[in-house]
Amino acid sequence: MRSFQEQLPELTKRGIRPVAVSVDPPATTREHLAKTGWTFTFLSDPDAKAVRQYDLAHDVGGGKVIARPAELLIDPTGTVRWVNLTEDLRVRARPEMVTAEFDRIAGRAP
């Protein structure tokens, strides 16, 4: 997440808007953003509604369902153009992977 904040200018330049989604309620996200200073869009999905729609629900026990890490690049028509489903929660997509994929799709020089 920190890397997406750091690469925000590179993403914005290409017209890509990062949108982070978790089951954290708005208050938790608000506190976290106040601490980290991250400025892109964060959305709260406390009932794991969107998480289930995308089949990313991870039941961590005690009735608690969270999102398994995943990144999707969606074009302006709403079509999914790239998906990253990590097999290891320590290893996440880097923003460079997103911009490289965008450049490939858009046919631009990397």
């Binding site: 997440m1 920190r2 890397s3 997406f4 290409r14 017209g15 890509i16 808007r17 990062p18 949108v19 982070a20 989604v21 978790s22 089951v23 954290d24 708005p26 208050a27 938790t28 996200t29 608000r30 976290h32 953003l33 869009t41 964060f42 959305l43 709260s44 999905d45 509604k49 969107a50 998480v51 995308y54 089949d55 990313l56 991870h58 969270i66 999102a67 398994r68 890490p69 995943a70 990144e71 999707l72 690049l73 969606i74 302006p76 028509t77 709403g78 079509t79 999914v80 153009r81 998906v83 990590t86 097999e87 290891d88 929660l89 320590r90 997509a93 880097r94 923003p95 997103v98 965008f102």
Partner: protein, 150 residues
């Protein structure tokens, strides 16, 4: 002759604990030290080497160095810490649902409406803009699902 105290096993054990804790509290924040936990491996290697050196001198030169009993206990604990680290960063972190039904490339992304940190309602297709049938200027979106801090 007075037998010397043998600090190596204790020092080695502490290095192993630091290897474990520093990864999750600090090195986890940076992709270069998170994706491949080499800082943990390096520190664990150093810690276990210290423990081993301490045990060797306790058993080979018992007339000079203490630490046979305590050193052995610390050695077992150090190996346990190293084992837990390897487990947590291999098997543990791979315990994820397969997500076979996640949207595939070429499919339409399911629309949703959620709240932002200020409690305002935000619709995904409004962020994507008019071409997707939402309000606002057309834009690409990279959706990042994360575990959160609940």
């Amino acid at each position: 002759m007075e037998r010397r105290r043998n600090f190596f096993p204790l020092a080695g054990f502490l290095v192993c604990v630091i290897a474990f804790v520093s990864y999750f509290l600090f090195f986890y924040r940076f992709a270069v030290t998170r994706d491949v936990p080499w800082t943990g491996w390096l520190l664990l290697g150093f810690g276990l080497a210290l423990v081993y050196a301490g045990l060797v001198r306790a058993f080979r030169r018992p007339e000079r160095y203490r630490g046979k009993v305590l050193g052995s206990i610390l050695a077992v604990l150090s190996v346990a810490v190293a084992g837990s680290f390897l487990f947590a960063t291999t098997v543990g972190s791979r315990d994820l649902p397969a997500a076979a039904g996640a949207p595939k490339v070429g499919q339409k992304a399911p629309d949703f409406t959620l709240q932002d940190p200020q409690g305002r309602t935000v619709r995904l297709y409004d962020l994507l803009g008019s071409q997707a049938g939402g309000a606002g200027a057309p834009s690409w979106v990279v959706l990042i699902f994360y575990r959160g801090y609940w």
